[in-house]
Symmetry: C2
Amino acid sequence: MSQRFVFVISDRTGITAEALGHSLLSQFPTVNFKTETLPFVDNELKAAKVVERINQINEEQGIKPLIFATLVDDDIREIIASCNGVFFDLFDTFVGPLESALGIDSSHSVGQSHGVTNLNEYVARISAVNYSMATDDGVEVDHYQAADMIAIGVSRSGKTPTCLYLSLHYGVMAANYPLTEDDLKLGQLPPALTDHKDKLFGLTIEPFRLQQIRQERYNRESYASAKQCQWEVAQAEALFRKHKLPFINTTQMSIEEIGTTIMHKAGLKRKI
Amino acid sequence: MSQRFVFVISDRTGITAEALGHSLLSQFPTVNFKTETLPFVDNELKAAKVVERINQINEEQGIKPLIFATLVDDDIREIIASCNGVFFDLFDTFVGPLESALGIDSSHSVGQSHGVTNLNEYVARISAVNYSMATDDGVEVDHYQAADMIAIGVSRSGKTPTCLYLSLHYGVMAANYPLTEDDLKLGQLPPALTDHKDKLFGLTIEPFRLQQIRQERYNRESYASAKQCQWEVAQAEALFRKHKLPFINTTQMSIEEIGTTIMHKAGLKRKI
């Protein structure tokens, strides 16, 4: 099947346009999209070059590329909108209606969204990232007093990326502690965790998926066998239930989904 | 000034709706918005409860809350749209025009966007995160062969969160190496870096900002003094110029902007 070109165009990072564009395109799973993101299109010269590129693709393919844009500047937007593509204005579409709803004009200023706002937020974010790194994988358990949450689960259940996502995205102090074979054999919470039960959040995963992940990188029989994965997961889940800990099954979830779900279920407050 | 309530509503994580909503609201800096995100509104019962909450706020405040929604299911969307709020449909607004442009119907399926797609991508992402953690702060320089990029800069210039963002968000193998006082005194690239010059990317920062960040957490005179910060930054920038390394000034940038800019300027390919 021939490809349908998609251009994501932004005057800043393009992160938002990319996410919404991806979300929209995922509603058309039978089309073979080829997406190109063009961030920082913030002057008329760059905009003209983008139009040239789009028009070239249109000529080569004989079909109009799709354009997803978040552009604040009217002049730049007009240049892009003049291209031979199908233009979807993900941002400006809503600015007019918002002005009506609020009864005031918009500021038409670029780059408020992902810019640094203040030092305190920046420092909170960095502190959270440093905390998550320092307390990764059961290290520095003496610092659990400062934790907002402590993720627990078997090895390769997704604890580390989840905690980093929580700290980077929300400024949450997220530690993680691995449930080892020894912990699971005892069937008890490790001593380092017993004083922090209200902060614990369990991650579990289908044993089959766990085995796939473990085999992908660490093909040790004792670690990546079906039997071992099944046993570890069953023991971990029994422990979560015994202590009435909240837990989620991460098998079908992306890191973003795991992170957002934990924020939601644990009632954590974002700090940035 | 009284607050204007904003509800961000999604059947999945709400990350995209939150980002676009934030971006739109930042165009109205004089309004005091109070935003509440309601993720995982994925059945009619939950939708009805959300409507109840919105209507209650409307009654208490005497002014309609703003609703930013990304909802795929028509029934759920209709319930939410029936509330006493100003409804902005960030998703469905574009689905009809996209169907026209593509000449096919959308699948109307929920949660394609941030879901796990395949094992390879998941593993690539986790490997990149593990790599960034293992090579943080100049550790494991023997593994630079595997790096896609190596961030260098003075202490507290933003290297660690940038590398974690690159690995989490793009699956890029991002290492970082701190330029220490000793390195800067010699005015030469540290030996660990000389074989990997094409992967180096410099981060710099205004000395005043650097001082603020250092003082915030580590108030040691020798480290956080204006003089020391000025000297370190000047030396680091001289080193970047001497070796013609690409570098950016991160002072006014968020982690998202730094990450996206590096992807763009270094021509890195996303792996997820």
